[in-house]
Amino acid sequence: MGFLDTLLGRTKPVQPKLDDLFALPSAAVTLDAGAGFKPTGSGSVCFRPVEGRSFSDVQKDVQELLNASSGKEGGLPVEVTKDSYGFNWLVSSHMSDELEALVTDLHAVNSSLVDNGFGPQLLCTLVAFRDDQERRLGLIYLYKRGTFYPFAPLSGERRDNALELQVKGVIGSDLKFEPDLARWFPVWGAPGL
Protein backbone atom coordinates (compact mmCIF):
# COMPACT_ATOMS: atom_id res chain seq x y z
CA MET A 1 0.00 0.00 0.00
CA GLY A 2 1.43 3.31 -1.08
CA PHE A 3 1.90 6.48 0.90
CA LEU A 4 -1.03 8.18 -0.85
CA ASP A 5 -3.35 5.27 -0.06
CA THR A 6 -2.38 5.52 3.60
CA LEU A 7 -2.94 9.24 3.62
CA LEU A 8 -6.34 8.87 2.01
CA GLY A 9 -7.35 5.83 4.03
CA ARG A 10 -8.16 3.49 1.21
CA THR A 11 -7.21 -0.08 0.46
CA LYS A 12 -7.50 -1.73 -2.90
CA PRO A 13 -8.75 -5.32 -2.76
CA VAL A 14 -5.88 -7.77 -3.27
CA GLN A 15 -5.94 -9.69 -6.54
CA PRO A 16 -5.23 -13.43 -6.35
CA LYS A 17 -2.16 -15.16 -7.78
CA LEU A 18 -3.36 -18.17 -9.73
CA ASP A 19 -0.44 -19.61 -11.70
CA ASP A 20 1.43 -21.41 -8.92
CA LEU A 21 -1.49 -23.80 -8.49
CA PHE A 22 -0.31 -25.79 -11.52
CA ALA A 23 2.84 -26.86 -9.68
CA LEU A 24 0.67 -29.15 -7.57
CA PRO A 25 0.54 -32.35 -9.74
CA SER A 26 4.32 -32.70 -9.89
CA ALA A 27 4.66 -31.99 -6.17
CA ALA A 28 2.09 -34.72 -5.49
CA VAL A 29 4.42 -37.27 -7.10
CA THR A 30 7.24 -36.20 -4.79
CA LEU A 31 4.89 -36.30 -1.80
CA ASP A 32 3.88 -39.89 -2.60
CA ALA A 33 7.51 -40.94 -3.02
CA GLY A 34 8.75 -39.12 0.06
CA ALA A 35 5.95 -39.47 2.60
CA GLY A 36 3.48 -42.00 1.20
CA PHE A 37 0.58 -39.59 0.80
CA LYS A 38 -1.67 -40.06 -2.23
CA PRO A 39 -4.30 -37.61 -3.50
CA THR A 40 -7.87 -38.65 -2.71
CA GLY A 41 -9.15 -36.97 -5.84
CA SER A 42 -11.20 -34.37 -4.08
CA GLY A 43 -10.39 -30.72 -3.77
CA SER A 44 -12.21 -27.53 -3.00
CA VAL A 45 -12.08 -23.81 -3.58
CA CYS A 46 -12.97 -21.55 -0.69
CA PHE A 47 -14.26 -18.08 -1.41
CA ARG A 48 -16.19 -15.35 0.32
CA PRO A 49 -19.63 -14.92 -1.25
CA VAL A 50 -20.71 -11.39 -2.09
CA GLU A 51 -24.28 -10.41 -1.48
CA GLY A 52 -26.44 -9.63 -4.46
CA ARG A 53 -27.62 -11.23 -7.66
CA SER A 54 -24.48 -10.73 -9.68
CA PHE A 55 -22.33 -13.00 -7.53
CA SER A 56 -24.91 -15.77 -7.18
CA ASP A 57 -25.27 -15.80 -10.98
CA VAL A 58 -21.51 -16.27 -11.39
CA GLN A 59 -21.49 -19.04 -8.80
CA LYS A 60 -24.34 -20.84 -10.56
CA ASP A 61 -22.53 -20.57 -13.90
CA VAL A 62 -19.34 -22.06 -12.44
CA GLN A 63 -21.27 -24.94 -10.94
CA GLU A 64 -23.03 -25.69 -14.23
CA LEU A 65 -19.76 -25.48 -16.14
CA LEU A 66 -18.03 -27.97 -13.83
CA ASN A 67 -21.02 -30.31 -13.75
CA ALA A 68 -21.14 -30.34 -17.54
CA SER A 69 -17.47 -31.23 -17.85
CA SER A 70 -17.49 -33.87 -15.13
CA GLY A 71 -20.66 -35.41 -16.55
CA LYS A 72 -18.78 -36.36 -19.72
CA GLU A 73 -16.05 -38.17 -17.82
CA GLY A 74 -18.44 -39.86 -15.43
CA GLY A 75 -17.28 -37.85 -12.41
CA LEU A 76 -19.32 -36.74 -9.44
CA PRO A 77 -21.21 -33.44 -9.51
CA VAL A 78 -19.66 -30.49 -7.70
CA GLU A 79 -21.26 -29.39 -4.46
CA VAL A 80 -21.30 -26.06 -2.69
CA THR A 81 -21.25 -25.96 1.09
CA LYS A 82 -21.26 -23.00 3.40
CA ASP A 83 -19.07 -23.14 6.52
CA SER A 84 -19.74 -21.58 9.91
CA TYR A 85 -17.63 -18.53 9.02
CA GLY A 86 -19.83 -17.69 6.06
CA PHE A 87 -17.36 -18.83 3.40
CA ASN A 88 -18.47 -21.02 0.51
CA TRP A 89 -16.59 -24.18 -0.45
CA LEU A 90 -17.00 -25.56 -3.94
CA VAL A 91 -16.00 -29.22 -3.79
CA SER A 92 -14.96 -31.09 -6.88
CA SER A 93 -14.47 -34.87 -6.72
CA HIS A 94 -12.48 -36.93 -9.18
CA MET A 95 -10.83 -40.33 -9.24
CA SER A 96 -7.67 -40.43 -7.14
CA ASP A 97 -5.40 -40.63 -10.21
CA GLU A 98 -6.93 -37.57 -11.88
CA LEU A 99 -5.11 -34.86 -10.01
CA GLU A 100 -4.48 -32.85 -13.16
CA ALA A 101 -8.18 -32.83 -14.05
CA LEU A 102 -8.95 -31.73 -10.50
CA VAL A 103 -6.49 -28.85 -10.68
CA THR A 104 -7.97 -27.83 -14.03
CA ASP A 105 -11.42 -27.82 -12.43
CA LEU A 106 -10.22 -25.72 -9.52
CA HIS A 107 -8.55 -23.35 -11.92
CA ALA A 108 -11.80 -23.00 -13.88
CA VAL A 109 -13.49 -21.80 -10.69
CA ASN A 110 -10.71 -19.28 -10.09
CA SER A 111 -10.74 -17.86 -13.57
CA SER A 112 -14.54 -17.52 -13.68
CA LEU A 113 -14.50 -15.56 -10.45
CA VAL A 114 -11.55 -13.41 -11.56
CA ASP A 115 -13.07 -12.77 -15.00
CA ASN A 116 -16.21 -11.45 -13.34
CA GLY A 117 -14.31 -9.15 -11.02
CA PHE A 118 -14.61 -11.31 -7.92
CA GLY A 119 -10.92 -12.25 -7.70
CA PRO A 120 -10.46 -10.53 -4.32
CA GLN A 121 -13.07 -12.90 -2.86
CA LEU A 122 -10.90 -16.02 -3.33
CA LEU A 123 -9.50 -17.30 -0.02
CA CYS A 124 -7.79 -20.63 -0.59
CA THR A 125 -7.92 -23.89 -2.41
CA LEU A 126 -7.53 -27.26 -0.74
CA VAL A 127 -6.43 -30.57 -2.22
CA ALA A 128 -6.88 -33.63 -0.02
CA PHE A 129 -4.29 -36.40 0.48
CA ARG A 130 -4.32 -39.59 2.53
CA ASP A 131 -1.71 -42.20 3.45
CA ASP A 132 -1.95 -45.96 4.16
CA GLN A 133 -2.77 -45.34 7.82
CA GLU A 134 -5.69 -43.14 6.74
CA ARG A 135 -4.03 -40.01 8.06
CA ARG A 136 -5.58 -36.94 6.50
CA LEU A 137 -3.56 -34.15 4.93
CA GLY A 138 -4.67 -31.08 3.05
CA LEU A 139 -2.40 -28.96 0.91
CA ILE A 140 -3.78 -25.46 1.00
CA TYR A 141 -2.99 -22.80 -1.56
CA LEU A 142 -3.37 -19.20 -0.40
CA TYR A 143 -4.48 -17.13 -3.36
CA LYS A 144 -3.34 -13.76 -2.08
CA ARG A 145 0.15 -14.97 -1.17
CA GLY A 146 0.59 -17.48 -3.98
CA THR A 147 1.95 -19.96 -1.43
CA PHE A 148 1.11 -23.43 -0.12
CA TYR A 149 0.97 -24.84 3.38
CA PRO A 150 0.01 -28.26 4.80
CA PHE A 151 -2.88 -28.85 7.18
CA ALA A 152 -3.13 -32.20 8.97
CA PRO A 153 -6.18 -32.36 11.24
CA LEU A 154 -6.42 -34.91 14.04
CA SER A 155 -9.59 -35.74 15.94
CA GLY A 156 -10.89 -33.06 18.29
CA GLU A 157 -9.56 -29.99 16.47
CA ARG A 158 -5.89 -30.74 16.99
CA ARG A 159 -3.30 -30.52 14.25
CA ASP A 160 -0.46 -32.92 13.58
CA ASN A 161 2.29 -30.31 13.50
CA ALA A 162 5.02 -32.93 13.14
CA LEU A 163 3.44 -34.31 9.99
CA GLU A 164 2.93 -30.81 8.59
CA LEU A 165 6.58 -29.95 9.08
CA GLN A 166 7.61 -33.30 7.62
CA VAL A 167 5.55 -32.55 4.51
CA LYS A 168 7.21 -29.17 4.24
CA GLY A 169 10.56 -30.93 4.33
CA VAL A 170 9.55 -33.35 1.57
CA ILE A 171 8.00 -30.97 -0.96
CA GLY A 172 9.30 -27.64 0.30
CA SER A 173 11.50 -27.26 -2.77
CA ASP A 174 8.81 -28.30 -5.29
CA LEU A 175 6.18 -25.81 -4.18
CA LYS A 176 6.34 -22.22 -3.02
CA PHE A 177 5.75 -22.75 0.70
CA GLU A 178 4.37 -20.11 3.01
CA PRO A 179 7.42 -19.05 5.06
CA ASP A 180 5.41 -17.34 7.82
CA LEU A 181 4.10 -20.10 10.11
CA ALA A 182 1.57 -17.67 11.60
CA ARG A 183 -0.27 -17.79 8.29
CA TRP A 184 -0.74 -21.58 8.36
CA PHE A 185 -4.25 -21.10 9.69
CA PRO A 186 -6.40 -24.17 10.34
CA VAL A 187 -9.51 -24.93 8.31
CA TRP A 188 -11.37 -27.27 10.64
CA GLY A 189 -14.00 -29.39 8.99
CA ALA A 190 -13.12 -28.19 5.51
CA PRO A 191 -15.34 -29.98 2.99
CA GLY A 192 -13.50 -32.46 0.81
CA LEU A 193 -10.72 -33.15 3.32
Binding site: M1, D5, T6, L7, L8, G9, R10, T11, K12, P13, V14, Q15, R48, P49, V50, E51, G52, R53, S54, F55, D57, V58, S84, Y85, G86, F87, V114, D115, N116, G117, F118, G119, P120, Q121, L123, C124, L142, K144, R145, D180, A182, R183, F185, P186, W188
Partner: protein, 318 residues
Protein backbone atom coordinates in the same frame (compact mmCIF):
# COMPACT_ATOMS: atom_id res chain seq x y z
CA UNK B 1 -3.11 -6.59 -18.20
CA UNK B 2 -4.80 -5.50 -15.03
CA UNK B 3 -7.33 -7.93 -13.64
CA UNK B 4 -10.97 -6.95 -13.81
CA UNK B 5 -12.07 -5.29 -10.63
CA UNK B 6 -15.30 -4.14 -9.12
CA UNK B 7 -13.40 -1.82 -6.88
CA UNK B 8 -13.81 1.89 -7.52
CA UNK B 9 -12.39 4.50 -5.15
CA UNK B 10 -14.89 6.84 -3.54
CA UNK B 11 -13.88 10.18 -5.04
CA UNK B 12 -16.15 12.28 -2.86
CA UNK B 13 -14.62 10.84 0.29
CA UNK B 14 -11.08 11.25 -1.07
CA UNK B 15 -11.69 14.89 -1.95
CA UNK B 16 -13.19 15.70 1.46
CA UNK B 17 -10.38 13.94 3.30
CA UNK B 18 -7.70 15.71 1.23
CA UNK B 19 -9.38 19.06 1.89
CA UNK B 20 -9.44 18.39 5.64
CA UNK B 21 -5.76 17.48 5.68
CA UNK B 22 -4.90 20.51 3.57
CA UNK B 23 -6.71 22.74 6.07
CA UNK B 24 -4.87 21.09 8.96
CA UNK B 25 -1.58 21.80 7.20
CA UNK B 26 -2.69 25.37 6.59
CA UNK B 27 -3.48 25.85 10.28
CA UNK B 28 -0.05 24.45 11.10
CA UNK B 29 1.69 26.92 8.75
CA UNK B 30 -0.41 29.81 10.10
CA UNK B 31 0.49 28.76 13.65
CA UNK B 32 4.22 28.79 12.92
CA UNK B 33 3.90 32.13 11.09
CA UNK B 34 1.98 33.65 14.04
CA UNK B 35 4.61 32.53 16.55
CA UNK B 36 7.42 33.99 14.44
CA UNK B 37 5.33 37.13 13.95
CA UNK B 38 4.75 37.58 17.69
CA UNK B 39 8.46 37.16 18.35
CA UNK B 40 9.40 39.68 15.68
CA UNK B 41 6.77 42.27 16.64
CA UNK B 42 7.75 42.46 20.28
CA UNK B 43 11.47 41.83 19.80
CA UNK B 44 11.10 39.07 22.31
CA UNK B 45 12.26 35.55 21.92
CA UNK B 46 9.45 33.08 22.31
CA UNK B 47 11.66 30.46 20.71
CA UNK B 48 12.62 28.76 23.96
CA UNK B 49 9.01 28.31 25.06
CA UNK B 50 7.90 27.07 21.65
CA UNK B 51 10.86 24.69 21.41
CA UNK B 52 10.03 23.36 24.86
CA UNK B 53 6.40 22.77 23.81
CA UNK B 54 7.46 21.08 20.57
CA UNK B 55 9.89 18.75 22.33
CA UNK B 56 7.38 17.90 25.07
CA UNK B 57 4.51 17.53 22.60
CA UNK B 58 6.67 15.41 20.30
CA UNK B 59 7.57 13.23 23.26
CA UNK B 60 3.90 12.74 24.08
CA UNK B 61 3.03 11.94 20.47
CA UNK B 62 5.86 9.44 19.98
CA UNK B 63 5.17 7.86 23.37
CA UNK B 64 1.49 7.42 22.66
CA UNK B 65 2.29 6.08 19.19
CA UNK B 66 4.71 3.45 20.48
CA UNK B 67 2.67 2.41 23.49
CA UNK B 68 -0.77 2.86 21.89
CA UNK B 69 -1.46 -0.88 22.01
CA UNK B 70 -0.47 -1.25 25.67
CA UNK B 71 -2.24 1.95 26.77
CA UNK B 72 -5.46 1.07 24.95
CA UNK B 73 -5.47 -2.53 26.19
CA UNK B 74 -4.87 -1.43 29.78
CA UNK B 75 -7.61 1.21 29.61
CA UNK B 76 -10.13 -1.19 28.13
CA UNK B 77 -9.08 -4.05 30.42
CA UNK B 78 -8.38 -6.36 27.49
CA UNK B 79 -6.18 -9.43 27.68
CA UNK B 80 -4.47 -11.02 24.69
CA UNK B 81 -5.79 -14.51 23.97
CA UNK B 82 -4.49 -17.45 21.93
CA UNK B 83 -6.69 -19.50 19.61
CA UNK B 84 -7.15 -22.33 22.12
CA UNK B 85 -7.84 -20.28 25.23
CA UNK B 86 -11.62 -20.30 25.09
CA UNK B 87 -14.57 -20.85 22.82
CA UNK B 88 -14.83 -17.09 22.19
CA UNK B 89 -11.12 -16.83 21.41
CA UNK B 90 -11.39 -19.65 18.91
CA UNK B 91 -14.31 -17.91 17.22
CA UNK B 92 -12.45 -14.59 16.81
CA UNK B 93 -9.18 -16.22 15.75
CA UNK B 94 -11.05 -18.17 13.07
CA UNK B 95 -12.57 -14.99 11.67
CA UNK B 96 -9.32 -13.00 11.90
CA UNK B 97 -7.32 -15.81 10.22
CA UNK B 98 -9.64 -15.85 7.24
CA UNK B 99 -9.83 -12.07 6.89
CA UNK B 100 -6.03 -11.79 7.04
CA UNK B 101 -5.67 -14.43 4.32
CA UNK B 102 -8.30 -12.63 2.23
CA UNK B 103 -6.64 -9.23 2.63
CA UNK B 104 -3.02 -10.51 2.66
CA UNK B 105 -2.25 -8.84 5.99
CA UNK B 106 -0.13 -10.01 8.93
CA UNK B 107 -2.32 -11.31 11.73
CA UNK B 108 -2.82 -8.88 14.61
CA UNK B 109 -2.82 -10.02 18.22
CA UNK B 110 -6.32 -10.73 19.45
CA UNK B 111 -7.60 -9.52 22.82
CA UNK B 112 -10.89 -9.84 24.67
CA UNK B 113 -12.10 -7.20 27.14
CA UNK B 114 -14.53 -8.26 29.78
CA UNK B 115 -17.16 -5.54 29.38
CA UNK B 116 -20.84 -5.64 28.67
CA UNK B 117 -20.64 -2.71 26.28
CA UNK B 118 -20.71 -4.09 22.71
CA UNK B 119 -17.62 -2.63 21.07
CA UNK B 120 -14.29 -3.31 19.40
CA UNK B 121 -11.10 -1.43 18.67
CA UNK B 122 -7.80 -1.91 16.90
CA UNK B 123 -4.62 -0.04 17.72
CA UNK B 124 -0.84 -0.29 17.47
CA UNK B 125 1.67 1.78 15.55
CA UNK B 126 1.77 -0.49 12.50
CA UNK B 127 0.36 -3.74 11.15
CA UNK B 128 3.08 -5.82 12.83
CA UNK B 129 2.34 -4.37 16.27
CA UNK B 130 -1.41 -4.20 15.89
CA UNK B 131 -3.78 -5.55 18.49
CA UNK B 132 -7.47 -6.10 17.93
CA UNK B 133 -9.75 -6.08 20.94
CA UNK B 134 -13.43 -7.00 21.19
CA UNK B 135 -15.63 -6.89 24.24
CA UNK B 136 -17.52 -9.89 25.56
CA UNK B 137 -20.69 -7.84 25.14
CA UNK B 138 -20.05 -7.65 21.40
CA UNK B 139 -19.34 -11.38 21.15
CA UNK B 140 -22.57 -12.18 22.90
CA UNK B 141 -24.79 -9.91 20.83
CA UNK B 142 -23.52 -10.38 17.29
CA UNK B 143 -23.84 -13.28 14.88
CA UNK B 144 -20.69 -14.55 13.17
CA UNK B 145 -21.19 -12.59 9.94
CA UNK B 146 -21.87 -9.36 11.85
CA UNK B 147 -18.84 -9.92 14.05
CA UNK B 148 -16.81 -10.46 10.90
CA UNK B 149 -18.03 -7.12 9.54
CA UNK B 150 -16.91 -5.36 12.71
CA UNK B 151 -13.51 -7.09 12.69
CA UNK B 152 -13.03 -6.23 8.99
CA UNK B 153 -13.76 -2.57 9.86
CA UNK B 154 -11.13 -2.66 12.62
CA UNK B 155 -8.59 -4.37 10.38
CA UNK B 156 -9.14 -1.65 7.80
CA UNK B 157 -8.10 0.85 10.47
CA UNK B 158 -4.88 -1.14 10.84
CA UNK B 159 -4.34 -1.32 7.07
CA UNK B 160 -4.96 2.43 6.70
CA UNK B 161 -2.43 3.11 9.50
CA UNK B 162 -5.05 5.25 11.23
CA UNK B 163 -3.19 5.34 14.54
CA UNK B 164 -0.18 6.92 12.83
CA UNK B 165 -2.24 9.34 10.78
CA UNK B 166 -4.33 10.48 13.73
CA UNK B 167 -1.27 10.84 15.97
CA UNK B 168 0.45 13.07 13.42
CA UNK B 169 -2.77 15.01 12.92
CA UNK B 170 -3.17 15.50 16.69
CA UNK B 171 0.46 16.63 17.11
CA UNK B 172 -0.48 20.23 16.30
CA UNK B 173 -3.33 20.24 18.79
CA UNK B 174 -1.06 18.78 21.50
CA UNK B 175 1.51 21.56 20.98
CA UNK B 176 -1.17 24.24 20.97
CA UNK B 177 -2.66 22.84 24.18
CA UNK B 178 0.77 22.79 25.82
CA UNK B 179 1.47 26.40 24.78
CA UNK B 180 -1.86 27.52 26.22
CA UNK B 181 -0.91 25.97 29.52
CA UNK B 182 2.67 27.28 29.54
CA UNK B 183 1.53 30.80 28.63
CA UNK B 184 -1.24 30.70 31.22
CA UNK B 185 1.06 29.69 34.06
CA UNK B 186 3.70 32.10 32.75
CA UNK B 187 1.19 34.94 33.14
CA UNK B 188 0.06 33.69 36.52
CA UNK B 189 3.41 33.20 38.20
CA UNK B 190 5.78 35.26 36.06
CA UNK B 191 3.65 38.43 36.10
CA UNK B 192 5.01 40.00 39.28
CA UNK B 193 8.62 39.18 38.57
CA UNK B 194 8.56 40.68 35.10
CA UNK B 195 6.48 43.76 35.93
CA UNK B 196 9.10 46.08 34.43
CA UNK B 197 9.22 44.03 31.25
CA UNK B 198 5.83 44.62 29.67
CA UNK B 199 6.86 42.92 26.43
CA UNK B 200 7.09 39.48 27.99
CA UNK B 201 3.55 39.73 29.31
CA UNK B 202 2.19 40.79 25.94
CA UNK B 203 4.07 38.00 24.18
CA UNK B 204 2.61 35.45 26.59
CA UNK B 205 -0.92 36.78 26.06
CA UNK B 206 -0.52 36.79 22.29
CA UNK B 207 0.91 33.26 22.34
CA UNK B 208 -2.02 32.11 24.44
CA UNK B 209 -4.59 33.73 22.13
CA UNK B 210 -3.05 32.22 19.00
CA UNK B 211 -2.74 28.81 20.65
CA UNK B 212 -6.38 28.84 21.74
CA UNK B 213 -7.55 29.59 18.20
CA UNK B 214 -5.24 26.97 16.70
CA UNK B 215 -6.35 24.42 19.27
CA UNK B 216 -10.04 25.02 18.58
CA UNK B 217 -9.69 24.92 14.80
CA UNK B 218 -7.42 21.89 14.71
CA UNK B 219 -9.66 20.07 17.19
CA UNK B 220 -12.62 20.43 14.83
CA UNK B 221 -10.53 19.42 11.82
CA UNK B 222 -9.17 16.35 13.62
CA UNK B 223 -12.68 15.29 14.54
CA UNK B 224 -13.72 15.73 10.91
CA UNK B 225 -10.74 13.67 9.75
CA UNK B 226 -11.63 10.98 12.27
CA UNK B 227 -15.16 10.78 10.89
CA UNK B 228 -13.91 10.44 7.31
CA UNK B 229 -11.52 7.70 8.31
CA UNK B 230 -14.35 5.83 10.00
CA UNK B 231 -16.31 5.99 6.76
CA UNK B 232 -13.38 4.68 4.74
CA UNK B 233 -12.83 1.86 7.24
CA UNK B 234 -16.51 0.93 6.88
CA UNK B 235 -16.10 0.97 3.14
CA UNK B 236 -12.93 -1.12 2.99
CA UNK B 237 -14.30 -3.54 5.56
CA UNK B 238 -17.49 -4.08 3.57
CA UNK B 239 -15.52 -4.52 0.33
CA UNK B 240 -13.30 -7.08 2.02
CA UNK B 241 -16.09 -9.26 3.36
CA UNK B 242 -18.40 -8.63 0.42
CA UNK B 243 -21.28 -8.30 2.88
CA UNK B 244 -22.18 -4.65 3.52
CA UNK B 245 -25.53 -5.67 5.03
CA UNK B 246 -23.85 -7.70 7.78
CA UNK B 247 -21.87 -4.61 8.79
CA UNK B 248 -25.01 -2.47 8.60
CA UNK B 249 -26.89 -4.86 10.82
CA UNK B 250 -23.97 -4.90 13.30
CA UNK B 251 -23.96 -1.08 13.35
CA UNK B 252 -27.68 -0.90 14.02
CA UNK B 253 -27.42 -3.52 16.76
CA UNK B 254 -24.41 -1.92 18.45
CA UNK B 255 -25.68 1.67 18.36
CA UNK B 256 -29.13 0.53 19.48
CA UNK B 257 -27.61 -1.23 22.49
CA UNK B 258 -25.47 1.79 23.37
CA UNK B 259 -28.41 3.68 24.82
CA UNK B 260 -28.99 0.96 27.41
CA UNK B 261 -25.47 0.86 28.81
CA UNK B 262 -24.97 1.78 32.43
CA UNK B 263 -23.30 5.15 33.00
CA UNK B 264 -20.32 3.76 34.89
CA UNK B 265 -19.15 1.85 31.83
CA UNK B 266 -19.62 4.92 29.68
CA UNK B 267 -17.32 7.07 31.73
CA UNK B 268 -14.52 4.53 31.96
CA UNK B 269 -14.69 3.97 28.21
CA UNK B 270 -14.57 7.62 27.16
CA UNK B 271 -10.82 8.11 26.53
CA UNK B 272 -10.83 5.26 24.03
CA UNK B 273 -13.61 6.63 21.88
CA UNK B 274 -11.41 7.49 18.91
CA UNK B 275 -10.47 3.85 18.39
CA UNK B 276 -13.85 2.32 18.99
CA UNK B 277 -16.12 0.82 16.39
CA UNK B 278 -18.95 3.07 17.53
CA UNK B 279 -18.62 5.85 20.10
CA UNK B 280 -19.68 4.96 23.61
CA UNK B 281 -21.38 8.30 24.17
CA UNK B 282 -24.86 8.36 22.78
CA UNK B 283 -24.78 11.63 20.88
CA UNK B 284 -27.89 12.86 19.22
CA UNK B 285 -27.01 12.72 15.55
CA UNK B 286 -29.67 15.24 14.57
CA UNK B 287 -28.24 18.00 16.72
CA UNK B 288 -25.85 19.82 14.40
CA UNK B 289 -23.46 20.92 17.11
CA UNK B 290 -22.79 17.47 18.56
CA UNK B 291 -22.28 16.13 15.04
CA UNK B 292 -19.23 18.35 14.41
CA UNK B 293 -17.65 17.43 17.76
CA UNK B 294 -18.20 13.72 17.25
CA UNK B 295 -15.38 11.26 16.48
CA UNK B 296 -17.73 8.99 14.55
CA UNK B 297 -20.21 9.78 11.76
CA UNK B 298 -23.89 9.36 12.50
CA UNK B 299 -25.50 5.97 12.03
CA UNK B 300 -27.58 7.30 9.12
CA UNK B 301 -24.48 8.56 7.36
CA UNK B 302 -22.64 5.28 7.80
CA UNK B 303 -25.60 3.25 6.56
CA UNK B 304 -25.95 5.52 3.51
CA UNK B 305 -22.27 5.09 2.61
CA UNK B 306 -22.58 1.31 2.95
CA UNK B 307 -25.55 1.37 0.59
CA UNK B 308 -23.18 2.72 -2.04
CA UNK B 309 -20.78 -0.19 -1.51
CA UNK B 310 -23.68 -2.58 -1.80
CA UNK B 311 -24.70 -1.14 -5.16
CA UNK B 312 -21.11 -1.24 -6.35
CA UNK B 313 -20.74 -4.92 -5.46
CA UNK B 314 -24.10 -5.87 -6.92
CA UNK B 315 -23.49 -4.33 -10.35
CA UNK B 316 -24.01 -6.95 -13.03
CA UNK B 317 -20.88 -7.88 -14.92
CA UNK B 318 -20.63 -6.28 -18.30
Amino acid sequence: MAARTRYAPDRGLTVRMTATMFLLGLVFVAFVAAIIGIGAAYHASSAAIVLFAVVLGGGFAIGSLFYSDKIALATAGGRVVGPNDSEDARRIHGIVDRLCALADMPKPRVAIADADMPNAFATGRNADHAVLCVTTGLLRRLENDELEGVIAHEMSHVAHKDVQVMTIASFLAIIAALLIRIAFYGELFGGGRRSNDSNAGVVMLALMAVSIIVYAVSFLLIRMLSRYRELSADRSGALLTGQPSALKSALVKVTGQMARIPTRDLRTAQPLNAFFFAPAMNLNAKAGLSAIFSTHPSLERRLAELDKVQQQLGRTAG
